[in-house]
């Protein structure tokens, strides 16, 4: 469909870094919209600056609030006051919900989903991009269709099937199953495999390589960036998922952290001395892994693949 990204996802946005090292003035002139008057670029800075504050402040406030001995909601409370700082909220939340178990469950759930996503995604993406077989078009159509099936329609029947009929409530398999296939990943892998020159495959076939060997030895190493992208953009889904694990885990020792924290917010928090402190401490523990990984690998998240995959 639309022109697909190269296998260096970050470049198309990376004006800042790459263009500056090139001859900037000429490029700037060509890119019409970069010629801003002084007033316009001040306005642009103000808009973006306000945006950044609005987006980042709650995270800053989360951290501050999680460290306050007593909740300080005055304006001064937004600035750290050494006299009011403590780590005890983290101890409180850890006695209310077992943070380690929650993190472990989140990790197992997320790991299982990512593993299934990558294995199925690679196999189907390769078959769709490289092989000629009957039903290829139908399969690709299905992958596009599955993306627009709304989960709310599936919630109840999946609950009946998985929790009641198959008896997989409070079970990792039951948590993972509905997310085991991910059509976005299929489409991303297909786009990457399409860019591998066909001659490589043909040459290897002449040398007698089978399709599985071709996939593992030639295709997969060439699309390593796609692997990283898919792993990074699919792991945030199960890590942050609430509704499904909430439905099928009643046993606290099986709940991912998002579920146990949510139960803490709605049931337990009000009976503690500093409910917001404890909630925010839990929120920091839940948010920190994703936010840190996101910042470290941000160029993979902010690639055109995501847009391309959603557009199909």
């Amino acid at each position: 469909m639309s022109p697909q990204p190269t296998n260096r996802p970050a470049t198309s946005y990376d004006d800042g870094a790459t263009r500056r090292t090139l001859k900037v003035p000429r490029l700037r002139r060509r890119r019409g919209q970069l010629e801003l008057t002084r007033g316009q670029s001040v306005l642009q800075g103000v808009v973006l600056g306000i945006g950044a504050i609005v987006f980042l402040f709650p995270f800053y406030y989360m951290l501050i609030g999680s460290l306050q001995k007593s909740p300080d909601t005055s304006i001064a409370g937004a600035f750290p006051n050494p006299a009011n700082l403590t780590g005890s909220n983290y101890a409180t939340i850890n006695s209310g919900i077992n943070l380690f178990t929650g993190l472990l469950n989140s990790g197992i759930f997320t790991g299982g989903v990512v593993l299934c996503t990558v294995v199925f995604g690679v196999l189907v993406g390769y078959a769709l991009a490289v092989l000629q077989w009957r039903g290829r078009g139908v399969t690709f159509g299905l992958a596009l269709l599955v993306q627009i099936v709304p989960f709310q329609l599936l919630t109840i029947p999946l609950y009946v099937l998985i929790a009641r009929d198959y008896g997989l409530a409070d079970n990792y398999l039951g948590m993972i199953l509905p997310f085991a296939i991910n059509s976005t990943a299929v489409i991303i892998f297909r786009q990457y495999f399409l860019q591998v020159p066909r001659e490589l495959f043909d040459a290897a076939r002449i040398d007698g390589a089978g399709e599985v060997k071709l996939l593992l030895r030639i295709a997969l190493p060439l699309v390593r960036p796609a692997l990283v992208t898919v792993i990074l953009i699919t792991f945030i889904g199960p890590w942050n998922e609430f509704l499904w694990p909430f439905l099928i885990t009643k046993n606290a020792s099986m709940q991912p952290l998002a579920v146990s924290l949510a139960n803490y917010i709605s049931n337990v928090a009000n009976s503690t001395a500093n409910p917001f402190g404890a909630i925010l401490a839990g929120a920091v523990v839940l948010a920190a892994p994703v936010v840190l990984i996101f910042i470290a690998f941000q160029r993979y998240f902010i690639s055109t693949d995501i847009g391309a995959a959603v557009k199909g």
């Binding site: 639309s2 946005y13 004006d15 800042g16 060509r30 890119r31 919209q33 316009q40 808009v47 945006g51 950044a52 987006f55 995270f59 406030y61 989360m62 909601t73 304006i75 409370g77 937004a78 199925f120 196999l123 078959a127 092989l131 000629q132 077989w133 009957r134 039903g135 290829r136 399969t139 299905l142 599955v146 099936v149 709304p150 709310q152 329609l153 109840i156 029947p157 609950y159 009946v160 099937l161 509905p178 296939i181 066909r198 043909d202 399709e211 942050n240 609430f242 509704l243 998002a258 924290l261 949510a262 917010i265 917001f276 909630i279 925010l280 839940l286 948010a287 996101f294 055109t304 847009g307």
Partner: protein
């Protein structure tokens, strides 16, 4: 290269050296017709296709089936009578004030969330598209809420928007009473605001991708004709990113219809007086807490049909023929 061999579906791919000669063996021809040139494609895709059938196609059919029955839970394997009741679940749904209110609430949500999402994400994406310094910093900060768990950021919003929270401290006498999340007038708008903030980064990204594809020559010729920045924004940028706008409309509508976590946690399960219930929340209460999955399925089907209608209307008015 375009010499097509036996199979009419052989496509433009180079003909592999083995088969496809002038005299294909009959057995191979049959195989080609049934499976295509590389039957292994079937084998590689089989697990995926099985999963699509098992966890998408079958549950959808099952939802439709259940919605026509007085379905209830029983011990696995037990023989129970679940009578066919025709459209009774659907009739009940349209006369249930709680369900009707939840649909109205989604309407309020969409009226606030969708326009706000489109305007803010296009505005921020446009500003971001021409920024030279700190571009990465801004992109990261806009995208951070999107990658973070709703449950985690809900905690901060509860803190910020509570009766004596920071927002009310800043507003002083302007603070609404009763406060945001416990006021039946403000609960749903506050949730809509939360979701807009949470999801905006993703839509900014979609618009950024679309803006990269707008030909620069259009802006140049507009500038030559004397158009200012604002004029060229409305005459060039807005029409050029129309396909992205259609997508943003569709996705934000789907997100709105899926609303569950936010009313469940921000307003303690849809309060006050049901002012912030959502259909998915009612589905959860009816289907799982109260054991009427047939009724809950009917609500889900009506909800999905509603989304399809809204999406169709949006596409009709925003889509046009250009893409």
């Amino acid at each position: 290269m375009s010499k097509l061999s036996v199979s009419p579906r052989a496509g433009a791919a180079p003909v592999p050296p083995a088969g496809g000669g002038t005299h294909p063996k009959p057995r191979r021809a049959l195989k080609l017709r049934v499976f295509g040139r590389n039957p292994i494609g079937w084998i590689l895709s089989a697990p995926y296709l099985v999963f699509v059938l098992a966890i998408f196609a079958y549950p959808i059919g099952y939802a439709v089936y259940m919605s026509f029955f007085d379905y209830f839970f029983a011990a696995p394997g037990a023989q129970v009578d679940r009578p066919f009741i025709g459209l009774q679940n659907y009739v009940q749904l349209f006369s249930d004030p709680a369900v009707l209110q939840s649909f109205a609430n989604v309407g309020v949500f969409l009226l606030i969330n969708v326009p706000l999402t489109v305007v803010l994400s296009l505005l921020l994406a446009t500003a971001l598209n021409s920024v030279v310094r700190f571009a990465t910093f801004f992109r990261v900060s806009f995208y951070v809420p999107y990658v973070t768990a709703s449950v985690a950021v809900v905690g901060v919003w509860l803190f910020l928007f509570s009766g004596s929270g920071l927002v009310n401290h800043l507003l002083g006498p302007l603070a609404p009473s009763p406060s945001w999340l416990i006021s039946s007038a403000w609960a749903m708008p506050t949730i809509a605001l939360f979701v807009t903030w949470k999801q905006l980064g993703f839509y900014i990204l979609l618009y950024l991708a679309a803006l990269q594809n707008v030909p620069k020559e259009l802006y140049e010729s507009a500038a030559t004709d004397g158009a200012g920045k604002i004029r060229s924004f409305f005459s060039i940028t807005v029409p050029s990113v129309r396909p992205a706008t259609v997508l943003v409309l569709l996705l934000s509508t789907v997100v709105g219809a899926n609303l569950f976590t936010e009313p469940y946690l921000l307003t303690g399960g849809g309060g006050p007086n049901g002012a912030s219930t959502s259909p998915v929340l009612i589905m959860y209460q009816q289907g799982i807490e109260q054991g009427h999955p047939g009724y809950a399925s009917a609500i889900g089907i009506v909800l999905v049909i509603g989304v399809l209608i809204v999406a169709f209307i949006q596409n009709r008015f925003a889509g046009g023929k250009k893409s």
